[in-house]
Symmetry: C2
Subunit: 205 residues, 2 copies
């Protein structure tokens, strides 16, 4: 009757609880001061309880990074979907929206974003992370392809287009995330500037 694959147990569903506790720990302490024992304490279990579920701290953080990757791809996708169908430059607008979703996620969830892209405490070579990472890239690449098709070009003809768009977007996102971490300015003007830059880049591919 209980159709969901419940790991029911002493605790009920510790794996999920640990992931939620880990996210809180990450937000409050940052990647560097993130502590496995702190997570266990938040979840109300002993410090060695996470081991059966995640192995070591890298395993837990990698699992958390995969949660983040899914939300990240989702954020890009829904940002793209929010572009109206009758937009005069629909394809490019969608590509820019992808970029803005990318940047918005980096700024609103800078800790999760940093965990994904620049933490040594995860293992990016884990298969599920490589898969999710390339999935995220594919979202952007698909939109680049749509833009190229406006001029009857293909991805194979323009192998630099998607990396260029990605690099600019990622650079802006890193810049924004760092700004936020260091308490720098992050107002609407900055967002507008980023959008203009993305437009320029979309027009240059």
């Amino acid at each position: 009757m209980n159709s969901k694959p419940s790991k029911s147990y002493h605790h009920g569903n510790l794996r999920k609880a640990l992931l939620e506790a880990a996210e809180l720990e990450l937000i409050e302490k940052g990647v560097e001061k993130f502590s496995l024992r702190g997570v266990a304490k938040r979840a109300g279990v002993s410090h060695a309880a996470p081991a059966p579920h995640f192995g070591d701290v890298t395993g837990l953080l990698s699992a958390l990074a995969s949660v983040s990757f899914k939300r990240f791809a989702q954020a890009m996708q829904s940002s793209s979907d929010a572009v109206e169908d009758n937009h005069p430059e629909k394809s490019k607008a969608k590509l820019v929206a992808i970029g803005m979703g990318y940047i918005k996620y980096a700024s609103e969830h800078s800790d999760m974003f940093d965990l994904q892209f620049s933490s040594e405490r995860i293992d990016p070579s884990k298969a599920f992370l490589e898969k999710l990472s390339s999935n995220s890239y594919d979202v952007l690449e698909a939109h680049v392809q749509a833009v190229l098709q406006l001029d009857d070009r293909k991805l194979e003809d323009e192998p630099d287009a998607a990396p260029m768009m990605w690099a600019t977007t990622h650079g802006l996102a890193s810049l924004f995330a760092r700004r936020k971490r260091n308490g720098g300015p992050q107002g609407q003007e900055l967002q507008d500037a980023f959008e203009r830059i993305l437009w320029r880049t979309a027009n240059a591919i």
Copy 2:
């Protein structure tokens, strides 16, 4: 007579020795597993010896990051200087060279690069780091200015130009540094692609 501000002492010049040991430690262990006691051991001193010179581990790593920032700006500058004076598109070629120097540094010294830009173990709000960081940016901005002047434009007229160039460059550099960390491909073709992308971006500002 001894004109240099020698901190001569028991050890001779422990501050310098610690910085060199710290760089080795960083390269071998990575930012995350970098250990203050490991550095002290390398330098042949007790584990608390670094304290008088650097305070805590953040102080030592911040000092190391400032060493890296200086080399980084130097690498960009000399990469720009290597462009011949009679180059047909000298200004743009220099700007691209700046970017390639940026990327080359990130790829050849990925640990130091990551330390500068994405480690929580340094304190980027330290005055000397903010200074060096903005100095590095100024090198790039100055070259953007030179490119804009080709069309009688000014930095104030094009406030997005320098951030755009920086974002693309930084995005490519992060991508490259990560590739290297994860053992991905990093051949000449990739370098060529990056250079083409930088040219496109330089032409789009």
